[in-house]
């Protein structure tokens, strides 16, 4: 089976503070990988290294190699804009664009890429909203502002926005942390449906969620990758003592 990502000895810093230490891991295509760990362990930083969002923070640095389809995205001649186009990202808090309608929120990525054809845009918006299980709720209100939706709907709108540009990978940064259980259940269901077409990496502080949705789980602690394995064995039979302590709730 092909690997979508091969992370090789990646270090990351914020100024003088090292956030990631020698991370190496491989992520399979069409799988869901969860990254878990206590807050401040570097899981979000790792996720943001995948699409070169980490470097947007002033004074942030990365070293090591991160292969995406065999190409090191940290090579000098790689344009992060091109890399990010092939990955969709969903953030902790829903962040639809308030000055755009629901339709434009989904279409914005395509428009940026030069798609002007109205019919094409419509079709893509509908397809993405359907895939994000939002179509039935908003199809009669596409002109309304994106921020008029509920929190859970907004987050699904953001997922639809990420899906619209036909990415290969979906990166999710605690997508449910600001949502109620019902909305969370919807989004989890959505995530599990995504892996047929996409490779999904999800950061979560919720171990049950990781266990429910993911195929593989990586446990990070203080910037180091403690354990990385298939989800079921990792939760049922962790090899490292630290992992066991974390998943049994001894710390975190």
């Amino acid at each position: 089976m092909a690997y979508k990502f091969e992370v090789e000895q990646v270090d990351a810093w914020f100024g003088a503070k090292q956030a990631l230490k020698q991370i190496s891991m491989k992520i399979k295509e069409n799988s869901i990988t969860a990254i878990i760990g206590p807050s401040g362990c570097g899981k979000t930083t790792l996720l943001r290294c995948f699409n070169r969002m980490h470097e947007l923070v002033p004074d942030a640095r990365v070293s090591g190699r991160l292969l995406f389809d065999g190409q090191n995205i940290y090579d000098d001649d790689v344009d992060p804009v091109k890399i990010r186009r092939r990955m969709g990202m969903v953030f902790q808090r829903a962040n639809p664009f308030p000055m755009m309608s629901i339709f434009d929120n989904v279409a914005v990525g395509l428009k940026m890429n030069g798609v002007r054809n109205k019919a094409k845009l419509r079709e893509a918006v509908e397809r993405s909203l359907k895939r994000a299980y939002l179509w039935d709720e908003v199809n009669d209100a596409l002109d309304k502002s994106g921020v008029s939706l509920s929190g859970g709907q907004q987050q699904r709108l953001c997922i639809a926005r990420a899906l619209a540009v036909e990415p290969e990978v979906i990166l999710m940064d605690e997508p449910c942390s600001a949502l109620d259980p019902t909305a969370t259940a919807k989004i989890e269901q959505l995530i599990m449906g995504l892996k047929e077409q996409y490779t999904v990496v999800i950061v979560t502080h919720n171990m049950q969620q990781a266990a429910r949705v993911s195929d593989y789980t990586a446990f990070l602690y203080l910037g180091e990758l403690v354990e990385y394995a298939e989800t079921v064995p990792l939760f049922e039979n962790p090899r490292m003592e630290l992992t066991e302590q974390y998943i049994t709730g001894k710390f975190g």
Partner: protein
């Protein structure tokens, strides 16, 4: 990917335009300052600061009365403008929720942006017409009106930053509230208030338009508050538009003195606020 190339091109055009805009702005600043220094320095010697301007067409002379007049005008304006500005600022901060305070705040901002020439005409109609002569008082009155909103706004900002615990400590000692505000709160907010005063002085030092219609013009040293008075910015204007080479040189020299004053004020203010808010 064709579209990618187009997008990258747009990005390049945007970045070059934006940096060019910044570069242009910086170049203008450097050129203005450079010219003022270059042309002004050659006009300056010891006598320049003390002598009176030479008669038209004759070389030499200085801008002594202008410097003195500007200092007098600034001092007189401060006497009127600073206390009023500080108290207006205290009112806005302490009663920030009241309707009057928000009305004051609003008109204060409107007044800050008001054309200074109109303020000058107002000083003319209310003081010059009444006194029947151009005078230092009329000029200072106009400058004070320009100072008030600046001082008020900075005082308000800094009084608002004084922690509630300091007021409460003073009140707990049995100090009346008005004394607490005037003594303790204001002295805690001292730095911000001084910053505002300096900013307002920097602004009025160079104000020319309101002086044209209020202080008249004088080649002589200060002779009384009810008499026309010389002023540095008026010297710059009058000498600049004159046909005499020697006077134009005096104009550049005056501009250098004025610019140095204003820049020093701003650099000091900037350094203070940077240390504080960093």
């Amino acid at each position: 990917m064709d579209n990618y190339a187009v997008r990258k091109l747009k990005e390049k055009i945007f970045l070059s335009f934006a940096w060019l805009a910044l570069l242009l702005t910086a170049i203008i600043l450097v050129v203005i300052l450079g010219q003022v220094v270059y042309n002004g320095a050659s006009a300056i010697n010891i006598g320049f600061f003390f002598e009176r301007p030479a008669p038209p067409g004759e070389p030499g002379g200085g801008i002594g009365p202008g410097i003195q007049g500007t200092v007098v005008l600034m001092a007189l304006a401060s006497l009127m403008g600073i206390p009023l500005g500080i108290i207006a600022g205290i009112y806005m901060a302490e009663f920030s929720e009241s309707k009057l305070a928000s009305a004051i705040r609003y008109f204060n901002d409107v007044l800050t942006e008001f054309p200074s020439i109109v303020i000058g005409v107002f000083a003319y109609t209310s003081i010059v017409i009444f006194m029947r002569t151009f005078s230092a008082i009329a000029g200072a009155f106009a400058l004070a009106i320009i100072m008030i909103p600046i001082v008020a706004r900075t005082t308000e900002e800094s009084v608002k930053l004084v922690p509630a615990s300091i007021r409460e400590a003073a009140l707990a000692l049995g100090i009346p509230r008005w004394k607490t505000t005037l003594r303790i709160v204001l002295s805690t907010a001292r730095q911000g208030t001084i910053t505002g005063i300096m900013l307002s002085l920097g602004r009025i030092a160079g104000e020319t338009a309101p002086l044209i219609v209020t202080v008249g013009f004088s080649f002589f040293y200060f002779g009384g508050f009810d008499k026309p008075v010389a002023a540095l910015p008026l010297y710059i204007y009058t000498f600049a538009i004159s046909p005499f080479e020697s006077w134009r040189s005096l104009a550049w020299g005056s501009a250098l003195v004025l610019v140095i004053m204003v820049l020093v004020v701003n650099i000091v203010v900037r350094t203070i606020t940077r240390q504080k808010y960093r």
